[in-house]
Structure formats: C-alpha cells, structure tokens
Amino acid sequence: MTATASAPCAGRRGESLANNDRRPVYLNNAATAWPRAPGVVEAVADALRTPPAHPGRSGGRTPDVAAECRRLLAGLLGVSTPERLVLTVHATSALNLAIGGLDLRPGELVVTTVTEHNSVLRPLNHLQRDRGIRVTTVGLGEDGGLDVRAFEQALAEQPALVVVNHASNVTGRVTEVGPLFARARAAGAVTLLDASQSLGHIPVHAPALHADLVAFTGHKGLHGPPGTGGLYVTPGLELGQTFVGGTGVRSDLRLHPAEMPVRLEAGTPNLPALAGLAVALRWGTTDGRRLNANLQRVASRLRNGLRSLTGVTLFDDVPEAPRTGVVSFAVEGWRVDDVGCALEESFGIACRTGLHCAPLIHRAIGSAPHGTVRLSVSGFNSDQDVDAALEAVERIAR
C-alpha cells in the first residue's frame, strides 16, 4: 500500500516533482485522509450524474443514502438508534449543534481540556462571552495524558457539560475517556466526545465510553468525502434547534419538526457526499479494518525513526501511550514552517505545521508559541512513505 499525492502547498509542486521522478508522499491524514476509501470517488460521481432524489421525497424509488449512513454509523458507534444520528457537513457543525443546543445558562460550568480543537474552544469562548457561562480547561499531567486529578476537581463543581477529545490532532495521544465520562455523568454533566481524530481509527463505542454526544467527521479516519460528518445524540437528550427551515417532511408545520433526526437537520442534504460516505462506511467495516493495523505499524515506524534522529525533538514522546497516526516534532535551528516548506516543496512530503487549530496544547507539550511540524499517516501509507519522510527530516536536521 502507498499513498502518494500532489502536495497542496504553492501550486505545481506535484508536477515538478513528477518531472524529477519523485512521487509526493501524503502524510497529512489528520487534516484530510487521502486516498479515499475504494469506491468513494465513483459513488460521489455516480450520484452527481444521476437525477437527484431526496430522502423522504422520492417515494422510495432510489436508495436512501442518508438512512444507510445513519444505519452504518449507528453500528460503528455501538448504538441501536440510527435516528439519533444527525448528519452534518463536518465535525465543526456537529460540535456547534451540540454545544449551542444545550441551552447553557449564565454561570453554568463547562469542563474541557487543553487538547481541544478550536471547533470546541471557540464555541465555548463565544458562549462565555455572550451568555456568561464558565469554562474550566483541564491541563495535562506529568505523563502527558490528561490531568485526571484536576479533571476530578473540576467535576466537584458540578459542570453542566464535559467536552473531551478522544485523540489529539497534535500529538495523536488517545484519552481514555470511558472512566472520565462515567464520573462526569455521575456528577450530573452531559458528556460530549469529539471523535474527529478517532472514529475509523480506533473503536468509538458510545455506550461503553459513557458519551451522551459524539461528534465526528467523514473525511478523516473514515476515508470518506469532505463535507460529511455527524452527531450522535443519546436517547432522552433533546438538543435545542440551531438550524431550522426546509426539511421535505411536515411542510404543513409552522415550526421545524421536533422528531429526530430531522429535528437537527435542515436544508438540502449533500447527497453525493453521503453516497460516498456510505461506501466508505461499508468498506470500513470490512477491508478498512485491516488498514488500522498497518496504520499503527507505520506510525510506530515513523515515531521511532524520528526519535532516533539527531536534532529532532518529538513532542509528547511517551512510547507506551496509545495513539493514532499523528506525530509532532521540531528540528533544532529551524522554524517549523521552514521545515514544512522544505518537506513539501523540496522533498514532496505533504505535512502540516503550526498550531493545528489547537492553540492551548502547545504550552503543555513545550511547542509554544510556534507549534509543531505534524506528520500523520493513514492505513494506506507504506514503509516506503515513512522512510522517505525520515530521510527528508534527517537531511533537513543534518
């Protein structure tokens, strides 16, 4: 298996590298996974070629890809209520639906962590400014994982909501959320899991993790199209309606329907993308599973290789910690964006540099203020891809 691509930095690089007989290597899977799952491109193209038919409006003449996605996602999340799966256009919209839909009141507390992405932090910061909610941000402990003692202390203040990301998009570190969420629920909080970096890579079983809400995207670990995502809402929890409008059903009602999932969905769905997502989800339950073993293997090869290089500093370098395929590092004497530019433009290694939209974690892991160079593998990457990256970093650090 291998994943090569035109690196998306300043145009024409893919072409130029091809001219130099070097194939660009795609190691930016934490941003958007590439390649897509087999059959996704064809499914999207087929949907675009076919006369549109909307779920609930076409009399059942064509397959309902939205319903198929809900059914497959419910299976993936270990729940038996596909109607509680709200389809969104990305994890960010799912997180906004969740955080905004809880009707948090002035003075109510939300507990979250320094590892969160801005798609959690910014909605909370806006509510803090606009509604006067309180936010406690739990830091990292000595082992680089979440500071469990600080988390428990925060729960003593009886938060209304606890938001934790399952896997960091900066370090790849997986947080063992099950016990944390169990305690949060016992303290009376609603629990929201950001599974943007985990779903598709590791098991995300909502009941086992005690997650009331799970936000996810389709274009990362699921290898589906961008513009897809979703939110699982546990039965009995009814979120306020952020988006209301046309639904194709119950058009006679003055107000938006209250039933799930249409309660939280409005407007014409992105059916071509959902057709692609359905294919990706089916693949994920069969062949895709085997790729995750390869992901862990190549990620270890990458991490171990970087650790062995002189002048390279790995962030959150705790070998035994559970992780996804994300590795963050810096090179002595180099700005992180210079390393990224050299990797992409000189060596054809697609990567990402900077804060990765997770601004709070960098002080905790020692990468403030400029952030990190991030390489992120998928199950499609090969040893050759990793070795090309290691050779490039070694030559930069030399």
Binding site: R12, S16, C341, S346
Partner: protein, 93 residues
C-alpha cells in the same frame, strides 16, 4: 526578475506579516546566491529540489525553492513597509 503578484499567506497567526511573491521566472542558482547581499543565506543545494532561506539583519526572513517562480517572506512588525519595499526593489532589480 519581475514581481507578477503578491499575496498574503494565511497561517496560524496574524498573517499580515507573511507574503508570497510570484515572479515572472523561476529561481536560478545565481538568483539565490545573489540574496547574500541582503543577509545570511542558507542554500541546501543537495535537497532533491534545492531549498533556500534567508535571514536579514532587519528581521525579515525569506524562503523558496530553486526552479519555482515564487518565494515567501516574513516581515517584522517594526519598519515593515520599509523592509518590504527594500525586498521588492531587490527582486525587481
């Protein structure tokens, strides 16, 4: 060398100090070595596509790749416009 287009580069920070210069031709080895007139030049000729970065005493930094028709510059907040004009005059010389 003529500047064809200048665009701001958005990054994780205030992007107002980062610019990409698009040029009417590609960087040659001679063009790159000529940058030594502005500051400390590092030229990685052994990279598959040779990379350069420039550190100037006024705080400006630039980088690019031989064979490409663009480069990127980061300007300090102090005297930004003056330093920009100096780089642009040098590129257009």
């Amino acid at each position: 060398m003529t500047i064809v287009r200048v665009e701001k580069v958005e990054d994780c920070f205030d992007g107002s100090s980062v610019y990409r210069y698009w040029l009417d031709r590609t960087w040659t080895r001679e063009d790159i070595l000529g940058l030594q007139a502005l500051g400390e030049l590092e030229y990685f000729a052994d990279f598959p596509r040779p990379f350069f970065r420039l550190h100037c005493p006024d705080g400006m930094q630039a980088k690019g790749v031989e064979g490409e028709d663009n480069c990127q510059a980061v300007f300090p907040s102090r005297d930004r416009e003056t330093i920009r004009e100096r780089l642009e005059a040098f590129l257009q010389r």
